[in-house]
Symmetry: C3
C-alpha cells in the first residue's frame, strides 16, 4: 500500500460542467503518471446513500491500493471533516458525511486520518469546491506514496459518520428486506445477500413477494425466463435483485428504492 | 498484432452505475499499462444492431491491433458463445449475438476463436456480468500478447451470428435504401455509401426523396444551406445522411431508423 | 511549452455516438503516450458561448502547456479558420468562431497560428468532421513538440473572432451584471467577479436583487444558509453565483442565462 497507479472518481457533478475535468487536472499536475477512472458522476445531487453503496461495492474489481475519491458534499465549506481511509485493501478519500459508512460497516477499517494538513492542499482553497482543492490533491499525493499519517490526525473508526442501513429481518420462515438501488436497466437490487439465506434453502422453491407480485424460484440468469417475464436472481455484487428479462422491472412493476421485498421458504 | 496499447469499450450499461468502472478495474488489474477508451455506454438496452453498427464503423480511427470490447448481451448466462475476432486490422471481443455481424459483412475475417478456456477468466464467474468476468480479462490478456488460439477453439466465419442488414436496391434510375441510425445531432444516416452511386452521376442533379420531402442535390457540408434548411451529404463515415444545417433533421422531418430514402438520377 | 502530457476535449458531440472515441483514436495513433481528459461533450448543439466560457475557465486547473481542443463548429466545411493559440500558460486548438474569444479577452495572447498546412492532417479530410481530421491530429503533433509556427501562418490577436460579452455596469451605488451560466446543480453563475466589488465593500451588507428576489449578504459556502434557502457567494471560479443550499436555484427562482443580477452597496 504505497504507490497507487489508479485513482477513481465518484461524484454528483454530472459531466456538463468542467468540474470533473478540473479535479483531473489537479491530480495529474501532481502525479502525471497516475491513471484516473470515472466510476460515475451521475449520482443524484447530494444522494450520499447512493454513493456510499458504490464505495462499498467497487473494491473487489480494482487492484490493491487503488484510491477511490468520492465527492457528494452538501456540507462543503462547513466544519464537516474530510477523511483518508484504508479498508478492503483499497484507499478512500471523501467527506465524513456517511459516504464511507457502508464500506466500513462491511469491512474492518485500516488506518483512518482526518485531512487537516493544508500544505497538501491546492491554494487558495475555495469554499465551494473542496473536491478540487483538497480531496484531489491529497489523493494525488497519496498515490505518490506519501504516508496517510502526514495528512492529519488519526480518527477512531467508531467516530466515522454512518448512515442507518435498512436491516434484513427474519420473520417465521421468511426474510424481509428492501430495494436499495435501481440500476440503469431498471434492475431492482435489494439488501439481501446470498449469505443470508438458510444454508438448506432450495432456491427453486423460494417465493419472492414484491409490489403485489409473486415470483417463484430464484433464477441463475436473466434469460432463464422468457423476454418480458419477471424474475429474481443474485446479481454481480451478490445481492438479490428483481429484474425483467430484456425489460425494465422498476418501471413495469412500480418498484422504487425502499420497496419491501419478502422471501418465503417453503 | 501482438501487444495492444488501446482497449475500447462499447456497452449498454449507462454511466450511472459502477459496471463500466468495474470492467476497467479488471482490465487494469491484469494490464496496468493499457489505455482504455470509452466509445459509448449509451447504447439503448439490448440494442445489438446499434452496437454492431459502431463496431463496423470505428476501425478506421484506431491504431492497428486495438482491441474493441462490446457488451450488449441480453443472453448473458445462457449458452450463447463469446468470441475473439480479428478483422480490419483490429481485434474484437464480444458475445456471438450479431454484434460483430456488420463488421464481418464488410471486412474479411482473420482468426476467430470462441472463449472457452476459463483459466483466462475472473473467478468466480457471475451469471449476469460476463463483461466484467470474461470479456474484460480476456481482452486484457490479449493486449499483453497472449495468442488468440489459447482462449478457445477456432470458429468458422460462416458460423458467426449475423443480423440481416437492409440492402440498397436499384430500381430504374433510382437507388432505394433506408435510414440506419440517428446521431445525437439528429442527423439521419442511411445505408447508402458513396461507392453505390453510378460513377457518371452528377451529384448536383440527384434528387433525394425522404419522409415526403424532396432535396435537390448532394451538399458538401452542413453550412452549404442556410440555417434550418434540409440537405443531404456524405458524412464522415462515407454514408449518405440527411441533415438540417444547425438543426435536428430527425425531429423536424419525422425520420426514424427504417425510414425509406430514395435517390433519383436524372 | 514543448511536449504536452495532457490533451483535453470539449465538444457538443454527446457520448451516444462514436465521434469522441474516433478523435481519441486519431490522437493516440499519433502520440500513444499522451493522456486525454474529457472536459465535457454535453455542450448544447452549436452553443459556442458555453464552450467559450469553459475554455476561459479551465486553464487554472491544468499543468502548464496542456492542450485544450474545443469542437463546437456549425461552420464545419466552410472557409471559417481553425486556430492554434497560446494563452494563460496553456495551448488551445479550435475553430475561429468565438470559442476562444472569452479566453483571449481575459488573458494576453501568446502566439496564434491558423491551421493551413495539411501535411499535419488526417487524409482524406471529410467535409463534416474536422475535429477528427484536422484538430485532433494537429493537437497530437503539437503535444509531440512540433512548433506552432509549422501549422500555418501567424494571426493577429485582434483578428480572432470574439463574442460580445455582457459587461458589468456600475450605476450609482450598484453593480448590474447578468447570469452567464447555469451549472448542473442549478447554480446560477454571473459575470461579476470578486475584483469588481469596491475594495471597501462590506459583503455582509450587500443586497443582491435577482428575479424579483432580494438576498441579503454574500455567503461563504452553500451550507451557510438552511437547506432550501437562497444565497449568493463567490464560487470556485471567482464569479458571483446565486444558489439554493441543497436545491436547484435556476428552477426554483426561474433564472436563466441572461437574467439580470444587481448588487446594491449600502
Amino acid at each position: 500500500l504505497k504507490i497507487a497507479r489508479l485513482i477513481t472518481l465518484t461524484t454528483d457533478f454530472g459531466m456538463s460542467d468542467s468540474y470533473v475535468a478540473q479535479m483531473k487536472g489537479v491530480v495529474l499536475s501532481i502525479n502525471p503518471g497516475v491513471t484516473i477512472i470515472d466510476v460515475t458522476h451521475s449520482i443524484a445531487p447530494q444522494d450520499i446513500r447512493r454513493a456510499a453503496s458504490i464505495m462499498a461495492d467497487i473494491a473487489g474489481a480494482f487492484p490493491e491500493g487503488t484510491i477511490h475519491v468520492a465527492v457528494v458534499d452538501p456540507g462543503v465549506g462547513t466544519a464537516r471533516g474530510l477523511l483518508a481511509v484504508e479498508a478492503a485493501g483499497q484507499r478512500f478519500v471523501a467527506p465524513d458525511n456517511g459516504l464511507l459508512g457502508l464500506l466500513l460497516g462491511r469491512n474492518p477499517a485500516g488506518r483512518i486520518h482526518r485531512l487537516s494538513e493544508d500544505r497538501f492542499w491546492r491554494k487558495p482553497v475555495s469554499a465551494t469546491f473542496h473536491g478540487r482543492d483538497i480531496l484531489a490533491p491529497v489523493a494525488a499525493q497519496w498515490s505518490l506514496g506519501i504516508d496517510i499519517a502526514r495528512f492529519g490526525p488519526p480518527v477512531d473508526p467508531d467516530q466515522v459518520f454512518t448512515l442507518a442501513r435498512p436491516v434484513v429481518r427474519r420473520v417465521g420462515n421468511s426474510l424481509i428486506g428492501e430495494i436499495e438501488l435501481i440500476d440503469a436497466f431498471g434492475n431492482c437490487i435489494s439488501n439481501i445477500s446470498r449469505a443470508e439465506l438458510p444454508t438448506e434453502a432450495d432456491v427453486s422453491r423460494i417465493r419472492i413477494e414484491i409490489a403485489g407480485r409473486c415470483i417463484a424460484g430464484i433464477s441463475v440468469c436473466y434469460a432463464d425466463r422468457p423476454p418480458g417475464a419477471e424474475l429474481a436472481l443474485f446479481g454481480s455484487s451478490g445481492l438479490l435483485e428483481v429484474a425483467l428479462n430484456q425489460g425494465d422491472a422498476a418501471q413495469s412493476l412500480g418498484i422504487e428504492p425502499g420497496t419491501e421485498i419478502r422471501l418465503l421458504f417453503s
